[in-house]
């Protein structure tokens, strides 16, 4: 089963995602796909704290800031993946090291995510809803927003369940939640 979760920040998306992934994993392995790429000692420390917190919940952390399909080899063992977040993955793929911008990252990552969702068995994907404001952005930000929306729409179409989280309340747009 695959579940797509989006909504505003600090609204309870990750909490719901962790609970859902745990339920989907059953007795199998529970993988957390960590998408944040650390840039300094402060990031390293934040990641160490998060890894320790998740280990207590039974998560095995897979560090994968780019090339998400690399994680698929683990799918043979059953269990479930939690990918938090699509937002960070696309950011890493679009804004490359050395200040290089990949304008086609949206299409490429959406394609990767579709393949991942079809082959992974069980997974929960977390994204961020950044589309409803009056901001007028530069072309880089607009390309990113368009790319993320493409990833979101692709996953929403492919996943069994689609949930919008609003202040820890859940709006079910498609399917059912296993928790």
């Amino acid at each position: 089963m695959t579940v797509f979760i989006s909504g505003g920040c600090k609204n309870g998306k990750s909490t719901l995602a962790e609970r859902t992934a745990k339920a989907l994993a059953g007795d199998g392995p529970l993988y957390y796909i960590a998408t944040m790429i650390p840039h300094d000692e402060e990031d390293e420390e934040r990641i160490r704290r998060h890894v320790a917190a998740r280990a207590g919940m039974g998560f095995i952390t897979l560090e994968q800031g780019r090339d998400i399909l690399q994680c698929l080899s683990r799918a043979r063992e059953g269990g479930a993946f939690l990918m938090d977040s699509v937002t960070a993955l696309l950011s890493n793929e679009m804004f490359r090291p050395g200040g290089v911008m990949d304008w086609n990252a949206g299409e490429r990552v959406a394609d990767d995510l579709l393949r991942f969702a079809r082959s992974c068995g069980n997974a929960v994907f977390v994204s961020d809803f950044i589309y409803s404001d009056a901001g007028r952005y530069d072309e880089y930000t607009e390309a990113y927003r368009r790319g993320l929306a493409l990833c979101d729409k692709t996953l929403a179409r492919a996943c069994d369940t689609v949930v919008e989280v609003c202040s820890s309340n859940f709006i079910l747009h498609k399917g059912e939640l296993p928790v």
Binding site: I130, Y131, G135, R145, A149, V162
Partner: protein
């Protein structure tokens, strides 16, 4: 009139095309510097028409045809902008969409490509 709202890039126009069988020539895109073609079957980017009204200092009119399909972005959800024009635009779009919703035969919100019937 049928109203379709949602965030940027959420698949609003694709939904409008499919749900109402719209042909491309029936879809007119509003701009922030001209009066829309009120005879159009479908007016999209309604928020840009509202921006045009804000710039001219007038209230948005509702001269669309009775069977019109209106498509607009819900730009009123984010942070209050510092720019006075953006601030007025955001508020006027909120008011305008509420008015349109009250008079609409149906209101649909798009979330990541999935339609949600609000009315």
């Amino acid at each position: 009139m049928d109203l379709i709202i949602g965030g940027a890039f959420q698949g609003k126009l694709d939904y409008a095309r499919n749900a109402f069988g719209l042909r491309e020539e029936e879809i007119v895109t509003c701009t922030p510097d001209s009066e829309p073609d009120w005879n159009a079957r479908c007016l999209c980017r309604v928020e840009d028409y509202v921006l045009d009204c804000v710039r001219r200092g007038v209230s948005p009119e509702e001269k669309f045809r009775p069977d019109a399909v209106l498509v607009g972005r819900d730009i009123f959800c984010g942070v209050v902008p510092i720019d006075p024009e953006e601030r007025a635009w955001r508020e006027e779009t909120g008011r305008s969409d509420s008015r349109l919703s009250r008079g609409a035969d149906s209101v649909t919100r798009l979330f990541c490509g999935i339609p949600q019937k609000l009315k």
